[in-house]
Assembly symmetry: C2
Homo-oligomer: 454 residues x 2
């Protein structure tokens, strides 16, 4: 069986890569309305790729937002069914000037594919399409395989909940398999045991009813940038604990055992700093780097703007200032509750000399998967087979907002089997995916199905 896989994949290697590059050429940015047609085009391309890989059926299904692509290959309803979840939408590409190539003109350099969506998540979900093809063409399927590839993950999956609730029978499966995360390294393979939740809000602070001359009015009227800066500054104390009242209330404190396990993961602080180009790290006092990015909730400002931001100088006292702020959440924080606390905080701490509007962009619940579950064990064995090492269980820092909903609606567990690397520049300029990782994923996935069916 594994010999057949290897042979088939080796013979089709180049095509597997080129097909992925074609998918990366479609600018499927879900956050921006001007890419609506490209989103549709990308969904169609995903559907076609599923059919070409050997799916019995595949279709583009409408939602109130961007469409979902569903596909399936059912070999025997009595056999276990694996539901592969992924997303064909990508993050915006700004700041464009920092890219070394057009983000939608995939460029190969040093064995890496540089393009928006290469690792997050087109390159990763496409490994499952090529794994399906491998299984079909070598006639070695042991599970039924379903695909749910959505187009709104990067904007918080606002319409997927309704879609899943309306299509429970269609999506019925025994496990959900997601490749949308990363390995510690190729030398230290790992499996995520969870994802953090998210509360993402936007704040608008208004001072005077118009931009003012900073000479005529400066010193007499509140500057919304100054006030916003004070509000943001107040969110962390001197130990970088988050000060929003009640923020930590529902945090499940990790056990000493879990903390010890996390801190056993290979980590070289100097290397970590060098790779990021910083002299010192910054984070919550009393926690290590992997604890900070895994088991602790965080609060980040994702964007800020106000006043004159062009070339040269303008002595304006602006009317408005804005910020995008998001928190990463851990079990058992509730996205809804934290969002309420965040909105309330920003609405109430401002002085009466400004008006504050604070609104939710989107949120998602934190999610954990047990390492003794059948799905996790199958994934662990699959990685052991292809990497020659038992993968380390780690807590992922990112968020896949739909996880808790998928589990709730479908009643099954999720396995996170990602093949990216932390330095893939997700959501950043020069996002990349190593070709080695792409092939390693295609090689590993068939073993997951094999072990899950056993």
């Amino acid at each position: 069986m594994s010999q057949d896989w290897k042979q088939y994949q080796e013979a089709n290697k180049e095509r597997f890569l080129n097909e992925m590059l074609d998918l990366l050429r479609i600018p499927s940015i879900s956050a921006k309305s001007e890419y609506k047609n490209d989103m549709q085009r990308c969904a169609d391309a995903v559907k076609d790729s599923l059919l070409a890989a050997g799916a019995d059926k595949a279709e583009v299904m409408a939602t109130d937002g961007h469409p979902v692509v569903y596909g399936e290959k059912i070999i025997d309803p009595a056999k276990p069914t694996v539901l592969v979840y992924g997303h064909y939408d990508v993050q915006p590409v700004e700041p464009l000037e920092l890219w070394h190539n057009d983000p939608f003109d995939p460029t190969i350099k040093d064995g890496k594919v540089f393009a928006r969506g290469s690792a997050d998540d087109k390159g990763q979900f496409y490994m499952h399409v090529k794994a399906l093809e491998t299984l079909v063409k070598t006639n070695t399927m042991t599970t039924n395989i379903k695909f749910l590839i959505e187009g709104e993950e990067e904007v918080g999956s606002p319409n997927l909940g309704k879609f899943v609730a309306a299509n429970k029978e269609l999506l019925k499966a025994d496990v959900i398999l997601i490749s949308d995360s990363s390995l510690l390294s190729m030398e230290n393979p790992s499996l995520d045991t969870g994802v953090r939740g998210l509360s993402y809000i936007e704040i608008e602070v208004t001072g005077a009813n118009r931009d003012l001359h900073s000479g005529t009015y400066g010193g007499a009227v509140a500057n919304p940038i100054t006030i916003l800066a004070k509000m943001i500054a107040s969110c962390h104390d001197e130990n970088n604990h988050i000060t929003i009242p009640g923020f930590y209330d529902d945090v499940v404190v990790a056990s000493e055992e879990e903390r010890a396990l996390i801190n056993k993961a290979p980590y070289d602080e100097q290397e970590y700093k060098d790779e990021l180009g910083v002299k010192e790290l910054w984070g919550e006092k009393g926690y290590s780097t992997y604890e900070r990015t895994g088991i602790r909730p965080t609060l980040e400002v994702n964007g800020i703007w106000g006043g004159y931001t062009g070339e040269g100088a303008k002595t304006v006292l602006p009317s408005k200032a804005y910020a995008k702020v998001s928190a990463r959440l851990v079990p058992n924080q509730s996205s809804e509750k934290i969002t309420e606390k965040l909105l309330n905080y920003f609405r109430t701490i401002a002085p009466a000399s400004v008006e504050v509007k604070a609104e939710l962009h989107h949120g998602g619940e934190p999610y954990m998967t047990p390492i003794d579950s059948k799905g996790y064990q199958a994934a662990s064995k699959a990685l052991e087979t292809t990497f020659g090492k038992t993968p380390i269980p780690v807590r992922g820092g990112g968020s896949i907002p739909i996880c808790s909903l998928l589990e709730k609606e479908l009643g099954i567990k999720i396995v996170f089997m990602g093949f990216g690397l932390d330095n893939d520049n997700l959501h950043s300029p020069n996002e990349k995916y190593n070709i080695e990782n792409y092939y390693k994923g295609i090689e590993t996935i068939p073993y997951f199905h094999k072990f899950f069916a056993e």
Copy 2:
């Protein structure tokens, strides 16, 4: 004499207005390099207008930056000479979407001309061109008049110092007359006795060497927006005093007499708040509004940006954040010293987890003019003649960076005789200049020359 003036101005009213509108149609934004040709075109138009008004000579003179326009009408070298200073450059127009008309397509509404530069300063210096025309055409000149109209006031006049130093003989005069400020109101005419100085800097804060995924790295690496917000927040204490070390060291504390005089100026707090659309004012504890904008130094953030600022949400932990920050200075603060303190403050308070670059945009010294000077007295009498009221002496909040240099190089005092209003939206969307004020200025200026010659 005054009868002739009135008649001439009445007969040419419409043309006076249309000529000003033509000047406003040229987008002479000095801060942006793409307007270089428009700057030249505007300088040429100013030169032509001086010749048309009756100047003996007028020329566009090159500098290392945008050109200066010089013009003169010398009736008798033995008579007193008035040097009119103004600027033909204007502020950038962003945010464009808040304008009700194209900023360079002057639109008249309710007796006001809406256009960038209408009050600051094209509409105001052009009053002097039309006053010159009035004096020439009615053959009533009693002074020599020189014009120095520069193109870099809005970017801090970086090249005017050199120009003035090199042309001392050409610019020789007995007083400098500037209309680039405002009246308290048409009912309460006023004359500025000074302008504030300026220190304008830009700050760049860098965290990691690239934008990061806020899930993968959030909580472990410094967010430059958060750090910048903390730095900005630290600039004012809870009484809104500025905390930069040594900031107030050289401030000349205003006497009780001067403070009493300032606070005698008509002021209705509710009206002031209503006009700005704010519930509460904001400013340095212990000082009234006019004190805050006149005799006290201030610190404002003129712009801030970093991370994702587009539509929707992007969970990025940005690499960089920026701010433009400026201080208004009062006697005897030195722009150079304060700039050094500001730069030093921002460079040193940041934690080691970020890199900070802080650089000067431009600066200018505060300037005061004595009310017992011949020039001030002539201006006071001129306004008394046309408004029927003695103007109130007030301290202007804005800055004309070149003032102290002009006085130093030419050895003469400056008179500020502005005809704008505080609600002219200088530096803001929908800048306007009231047509009534434009005509009032043209009516008043000849009296200044008359009284100054007496």
